[in-house]
């Protein structure tokens, strides 16, 4: 664990990776003055740093030499809600689902674009710094007023079934974050329905038909293949 700059007040960012080149790359693209950077190159170091530094966000590699990244997520989640973005070369869906279900907030596959990384970091930070969800969600033509249970699509009010609305509400309250199929199913239909994927798919389709301009090229509800869905936020 080490800290590059100790600028109090800046969000603290902990990078965990065993590859020196990756750490070096992350450092150079993130050293923009927005964060104070910390790094660790193994699982135990990451846990110690997380406890000592109390970072505001963690970038975590899954393939660590001493322990599995998923295990690191689980241990941190035992006591902290700090946003964790997984950076991994493992592109298998089961890896993503595993990490997300263990409590990771986002999952980025290496190689990734710098802009993409920065955007994800911003979204995660904003969400974690928010005390309560904003009562109104607005994004390119879609306006969801959670307090009044009102949804406007390009200025017109649209009606939803109760399930559709619940689904939309869940996505809105986690806007920008990937929700796995399992997470959505558990939240809306309860644990008993955790494997009823077809119900979820049909509802997503209906939802898209109501809020998307072109359901074949959705702009709001994005499918994370084999993982789940994410409501795009800007």
């Amino acid at each position: 664990m080490s800290s590059m700059k100790n600028n109090a007040g800046l969000p603290r960012l902990l990078m965990v990776d065993d590859e020196v080149t990756i750490l070096r790359f992350l450092r150079s693209v993130l050293d923009t003055g927005e964060f104070s950077l910390y790094q660790a190159d193994n699982g135990h170091g990451a846990l110690a740093a997380a406890a000592a530094v109390r970072p505001d966000i963690i970038l975590l590699d899954l393939g660590l030499p001493d322990m599995e990244g998923v295990e690191v997520i689980r241990r941190i989640r035992e006591w902290s809600k700090v946003p964790i973005i997984v950076l991994s070369v493992r592109d298998g869906e089961e890896n993503k689902v595993g990490a997300l279900d263990a409590g990771a907030d986002d999952y980025l596959i290496k190689p990734f674009g710098v802009a993409e990384l920065q955007a994800r970091i911003r979204v995660s930070l904003r969400r974690s710094l928010q005390q309560a969800p904003e009562p109104v969600y607005r994004c390119s033509g879609l306006e969801v007023d959670l307090a009044q249970r009102r949804v406007l699509v390009r200025g017109e009010e649209v009606q939803f079934t109760p399930t559709e609305y619940e689904l939309l509400r869940l996505l809105v309250s986690h806007a920008g974050k990937v929700l796995t199929h399992g997470q959505i199913l558990r939240q809306i239909w309860g644990t008993a329905h955790a494997d009823q994927q077809n119900v979820l798919r049909v509802n997503i389709r209906n939802l898209r038909q109501k809020i998307e301009e072109d359901a074949s090229r959705p702009r709001h509800i994005v499918t994370e293949l084999g993982v789940g869905y994410r409501l795009k936020s800007d």
């Binding site: 869906e93 077809n198 798919r201 997503i204 072109d214 359901a215 074949s216 090229r217 499918t223 084999g226």
Partner: protein, 899 residues
């Protein structure tokens, strides 16, 4: 005029020399110590020579030496290593024999084996000691051996004539030819007799008997002359061979070829020996044939066994042996003679009574009539040797047949009795003639002859006036009698001949059919098991036999297939092994290891032994029957060809697989090195240029470089992804996670993944609104659509449109990706899905050649199919079809409308 050309040895000569040298290579050398009687000092001479060799540093052991208790011989034996003799238990007596396995295991340079002509105790490996010697030579061990002149097969009867003693223990003459060196051990007969009287050869009582029976001065002189002559002719042969190989012109006789025919008669053996002697004198090659005639099939078993023995004898005397089949002995013989350039045919003098010559022309006359330019030697054989071989037992006479012919004649007479009022006597004869024909057809030859005779008598007695007497008033009736009798005889012999012929043909047909069945079964057998099954089935059927097929497995023969209940013990396996190693038949019915329960035939093709076929025949006589042995050998040959075919097929297949793998690996390596390196070039190039602080690059150029590097990095990433996918697909690690999927979502995901490449291109997506969820692995199927779309984008102009469509028809989900590019040449439509196949395009767009083959792998894993077709009006249509089970569709609809 003689030219250099002619002076050179002919190619045939050189080939013969080369073959002989080749055959000699690796074989042991044989040295024979030849004497003319016991006591001339052969063993002594052999031991002396052995000691000398040992002095030269050669490894000499005594395999078997018989000292006959002579002290000077024992003295010489001292200091030589003696291999302990094997004791063979025969009827409670332990007979000493050479322990051939011990000698083989010991592997000396030279083995001494006394008494070449010795007959081994029953139960030994070989019947004769000379066979042991051959095996030692075959194993590369030099052998010194002793033998007396009278033991050589071709001299056997001459010696018997001279001495009156028939020598039972004989050695094939070819051993004499085989010997590299013959050492004549000679002392004058007077000295020999002197030694005999001194008791140096036999103990006194035995010596007295020997003097009386064998050691007569006249005998000894004759034998001595024989041995000297034999040795001299051997020297002569060597000289000729030497001259021939070095092309020294000499008075060679024209190449003579002799032919002798054996019939199974007791005189055949003598005929064979005579021919061999003639051939020797003329330096001629000689052939022995046996001609099977349809009538011959009736011959007794003994006769057949004798033919078989005669042919083996001829073979061992150096003849080329053949068995022919024909209706006429003379014709077949002449035919064979002409085909084989035979110059002389040797036949025996006829022995049959002269009157029979009127009925049938003697063979000698037939041969002489047809022989044309071929000389015919008629040799006297009858009357001289008294060694008559027992005649074949007469065929059991079926008296009922004769009784039937008697009854037939009586019945005919009864029928004729009332008829004589209406018919002239000459027509009554016709009725009797009918009876004769009937007898010939139904009862066989002899009863038919009887019928003819009885008919003549009955006709005379009952119907020729004066009736009821044999007296004949009208002499014209004698013509009737004569005609009736002659016609009866002729008809009966014709009918019986045609019957015999039919029988022979049937035999042949059975043989041909069984061979045909085997070859047919073998032709369809695609593997070793099939071949062995076919062999087992066919031999079992055709021979009522049990068989065992042994094939080599790691240097050892193993029973691969055997009839049920057939068990081979170690001894049988050893016999089979011998047949395999020596590539000669062994076991029952052969000369080698005859105590075995089965006959073992090597399965060999083009010289290499592939295995051994063991047969236990149901019929004892079949072991020595020419017919059955030939058929079995034909079976073995067929099996060998089939086994070889399977071997070759397997090799070819492996070679093909290897080649395919190699070419694929080459393609893979080429592709990888190309596709990995090319993007790296632009990336490293761009980075290098940007790093260079002093570079005068404009901002715009920098951005261009960066864009190019960025694009290529993406390309590199995609390629690695493709390789990983391909590896997963091929390693079988791919497991489909089938879940109900929204097809529209699927297309949406693919479009989203290609967002940057698609740019502003117009994409038309057609998905019917009622399309149900379809069970599939969405991640993989999305990859399929991405790859197809990616191709469409890559290979079509920027502004052309792309259409994506999905629909359900006949329980099949059809996905189509259509573009308006240039399409693909018709004959490449199928190949585009092959690994590393790239449609040649002039611009050389950078595909990996993997995308479509990954698509195919994924679609096929779903049980679907993928194909490409050119569109009307230009462009390509890629069609993916996935089966959607009925139940699933219903289920999907139910969920859909539950909400």
């Amino acid at each position: 005029m003689r030219t250099d050309q002619e002076a050179r040895p002919s190619p045939e000569t050189l080939l013969r020399v080369a073959q002989a040298e080749e055959a000699e290579y690796g074989r042991g050398k044989l040295k024979i110590f030849l004497g003319y009687a016991a006591g001339v000092g052969k063993t002594y001479a052999m031991l002396e020579a052995a000691r000398q060799r040992k002095g030269d540093g050669r490894d000499v052991v005594a395999g078997y030496v018989e000292s006959h208790g002579r002290p000077e011989t024992d003295l010489l034996l001292e200091g030589l290593e003696v291999i302990p003799q094997a004791r063979i238990d025969y009827l409670g007596v332990l007979l000493p024999e050479m322990d051939i396995d011990a000698v083989l295991a010991r592997r000396p340079h030279i083995a001494l084996v006394d008494e070449l002509a010795h007959t081994n105790a029953p139960g030994s490996r070989h019947e004769k000691r000379w066979q042991d010697v051959e095996e030692l030579l075959g194993a590369g061990i030099d052998v010194y051996t002793t033998v007396n002149i009278q033991h050589f097969e071709s001299l056997n009867d001459v010696v018997a004539q001279i001495t009156g003693v028939v020598v039972r223990e004989t050695v094939p003459d070819r051993l004499l030819d085989l010997a590299v060196e013959i050492r004549l051990v000679d002392i004058p007969p007077e000295d020999l007799l002197q030694r005999l009287h001194e008791g140096k050869i036999y103990i006194p009582e035995k010596a007295a008997l020997a003097t009386e029976k064998f050691f007569k001065p006249g005998n000894l002189m004759a034998l001595r002359e024989l041995s000297l002559r034999r040795a001299a002719s051997r020297v002569d042969d060597q000289m000729r061979a030497y001259m021939e190989s070095r092309s020294i012109a000499g008075p060679w006789p024209v190449a003579e070829r002799l032919l002798v025919c054996v019939s199974g008669s007791p005189f055949s053996e003598r005929l064979i020996r005579t021919t061999r002697r003639l051939a020797d004198e003329m330096k001629a090659a000689w052939h022995t044939v046996y001609i099977e005639t349809p009538g011959g099939s009736r011959y007794t078993r003994e006769n057949r066994a004798r033919v078989w023995r005669d042919l083996r004898l001829a073979e061992s005397l150096g003849a080329q042996v053949a068995t022919l089949s024909s209706t006429s002995v003379a014709e077949a013989l002449i035919d064979y003679a002409v085909k084989n350039n035979v110059t002389k045919i040797v036949v025996g003098k006829p022995t049959k009574p002269r009157w029979r010559e009127f009925l049938r022309q003697p063979l000698v006359d037939q041969i002489i009539r047809h022989s044309g330019p071929i000389d015919v030697h008629v040799v006297s054989i009858a009357g001289e040797g008294e060694r008559t071989v027992p005649k074949g037992a007469p065929r059991p006479v079926d008296w009922s047949e004769y009784l039937k012919s008697l009854l037939l004649v009586l019945f005919t007479s009864l029928v004729c009795e009332p008829a004589r009022w209406y018919l002239a006597p000459t027509n009554l004869v016709m009725i009797f003639l009918l009876a004769v024909v009937l007898a010939a057809v139904r009862l066989g030859r002899r009863p038919a002859v009887l019928t003819a005779t009885l008919s003549v008598l009955a006709f005379d007695f009952f119907f020729v006036p004066p009736r009821f007497t044999f007296a004949v008033t009208d002499a014209e009736y004698f013509i009737t009698f004569g005609a009736l009798f002659t016609v009866g005889i002729v008809i009966s012999s014709l009918v019986s001949q045609s019957r015999e012929r039919a029988e022979a043909i049937r035999d042949r047909e059975v043989q041909t059919a069984s061979l045909y069945h085997l070859s047919r079964d073998l032709a369809v057998a695609s593997d070793l098991k099939g071949i062995l099954d076919a062999l087992l089935k066919n031999i079992t059927e055709s021979h009522d036999a049990q068989i065992a097929v042994l094939l080599p497995e790691k240097e050892r023969l193993e029973l691969k297939r055997g009839s049920d209940g057939l068990v081979l013990d170690l001894k049988e396996l050893a016999v089979a092994d011998w047949a395999f190693r020596n590539r000669r038949p062994a076991g029952r019915g052969t000369e080698t290891l005859i105590s075995a329960a089965l006959l073992y035939l090597p399965i060999q093709s083009s010289g290499a032994a592939l295995g051994v076929l063991g047969v236990r025949l149901g019929n004892e006589a079949d072991y020595t029957s020419q017919l059955s042995r030939r058929l079995l050998e034909a079976f073995a040959t067929q099996a060998a060809l089939a086994i070889e075919r399977v071997h070759l097929g397997k090799q070819a297949e492996q070679a093909q697989i290897l080649q395919a793998r190699e070419s694929l690996e080459r393609a893979l390596l080429n592709s990888i090195s190309h596709d990995l390196r090319t993007p790296l070039v632009s990336i490293t190039g761009a980075l290098g240029a940007l790093r260079d602080k002093g570079s005068p690059l404009e901002q715009e150029a920098r951005e261009d470089l960066l864009d190019a590097a960025w694009e290529d990095a993406g390309r590199l990433n995609r390629f690695v992804g493709n390789l990983l996918d391909m590896t997963r697909l091929e390693s079988g690690a791919l497991r489909l996670k089938l879940i109900p999927c929204d097809v529209q979502d699927l297309l949406g995901c693919a479009l989203a993944a290609l967002e940057p490449q698609l740019g502003k291109r117009s994409i038309e997506v057609t998905v019917p609104s009622g399309l149900p969820l379809v069970r599939m692995d969405m991640v993989l199927m999305a990859q399929v659509v991405v790859n197809l779309l990616d191709n469409a984008v890559k290979y079509t102009p920027r502004q052309s449109s792309i259409e994506l469509a999905a629909r359900l028809a006949d329980g099949t989900l059809i996905l189509e990706v259509c573009d308006r590019g240039r399409g693909i040449p018709e004959n490449d439509l199928k190949r585009v899905f092959d690994k590393f196949y790239r449609v040649p395009v002039p611009e050389g767009a950078g595909g990996t050649g993997l995308g479509l083959s990954i698509c195919r792998g994924i679609v096929e894993a779903h049980g679907g199919s993928i194909r490409a077709e050119n569109r009307e009006g230009g462009g390509l249509r890629m069609i993916v079809e996935l089966p959607v089970p009925e139940s699933e569709r219903e289920e999907a609809y139910r969920v859909q409308y539950e909400e």
